[in-house]
């Protein structure tokens, strides 16, 4: 009741991005949040409402902090190879986990994930001047390569095979 929050909300959310991005939603208990975020349990509930409430805020923070800069970088991509390189080297841990783990069971997560991936598609389409569906295919390939642990030369081989796109 009107007591000042004894923790840095911004820092706590950033720490939650790391936890959820590293261990997935189901792998993080409230005990984990309490011990890693430096937040008392009661403050956690009072501030975020629920674990899912915190997760949604953390996901949006990840999109703003980690995906947004990727979009800016993609705007400067000159060819498919550089677009692939930018996506495969980005920190997209929480986005990928959200897409697999939470989007199928949580509509709000699904719409955030869909919008974020569409933004990546759009950034690639705009930068390379390619049709939207081709940009989507490039994003999909890049995310696949990222999920595979960015195996040597996969992105290069794909880009070489594609050749000039426009």
């Amino acid at each position: 009741m009107g007591r000042p929050r004894a923790f840095d909300e911004d820092e706590a959310v950033r720490a939650a991005v790391g936890l959820f991005g590293g261990r997935a939603y189901d792998g993080v208990s409230v005990d984990d949040l309490v011990s890693h975020l430096g937040v008392h349990r009661n403050s956690l509930y009072k501030t975020f409402g629920s674990k899912r409430g915190l997760y949604l805020i953390a996901l949006r923070r990840h999109l703003a902090d980690d995906v947004r800069p990727l979009l800016d970088d993609l705007a400067g991509a000159s060819d498919a190879a550089s677009a692939l390189r930018l996506v495969t080297s980005a920190d997209l841990g929480l986005l990928l986990l959200a897409a697999i783990e939470r989007a199928p069971v949580d509509e709000e997560v699904a719409s955030e994930v869909t919008a974020a991936l569409a933004a990546v598609d759009q950034a690639i389409a705009d930068a390379l001047g390619v049709p939207a569906d081709l940009a989507t295919a490039l994003t999909a390939a890049a995310l696949g390569i990222l999920l595979r642990g960015n195996p040597d030369h996969a992105a290069t081989a794909l880009a070489q095979h594609l050749g000039p796109l426009t």
């Binding site: 009741m1 509930y45 629920s50």
Partner: protein, 116 residues
């Protein structure tokens, strides 16, 4: 043990069995607009709970009733910590409810999905 259902625009909590004696309550009706979220939280039972009045606390057996801590009023009805769910409220007598339910995951989904 508590049974939780959504009835129109309300969250209805029914305290079952003898728990309603210990808890001094048999049901609670909360407008969904005042429900902020639900979380499965087995660890909460090991936290300090504050001062009880009215209700029962037999450590290690049952925590039921109204507890006061840090200016907050919290309603508890938990015997089995592994099935504890925390429902956070706003603009209600209780700041939160800590309830034992049959299926915490299903209860959390039910409540979270019913919030706008």
């Amino acid at each position: 043990m508590a049974r939780i259902r959504i009835d129109g625009d309300d969250l209805v909590v029914v305290i079952e069995g003898l728990d309603k004696l210990w808890a001094f309550k048999s049901s609670l009706t909360i407008p969904l607009a005042n429900v902020r979220g639900a979380t499965a939280d087995p660890g909460i039972t090991t936290d300090p709970k504050g001062i009880r009045a009215p209700g029962s606390r037999v450590p290690g057996v049952i925590t039921a009733g109204t507890f006061h801590q840090d200016g907050e009023t919290v309603f508890w009805d938990v015997k089995d910590p592994s099935k504890a769910v925390v429902i956070e409220l706003a603009d209600e007598k209780y700041a939160r409810l800590v309830l034992q339910v049959d299926d915490p995951r299903a209860t959390v989904a039910l409540v979270e999905n019913s919030l706008a």
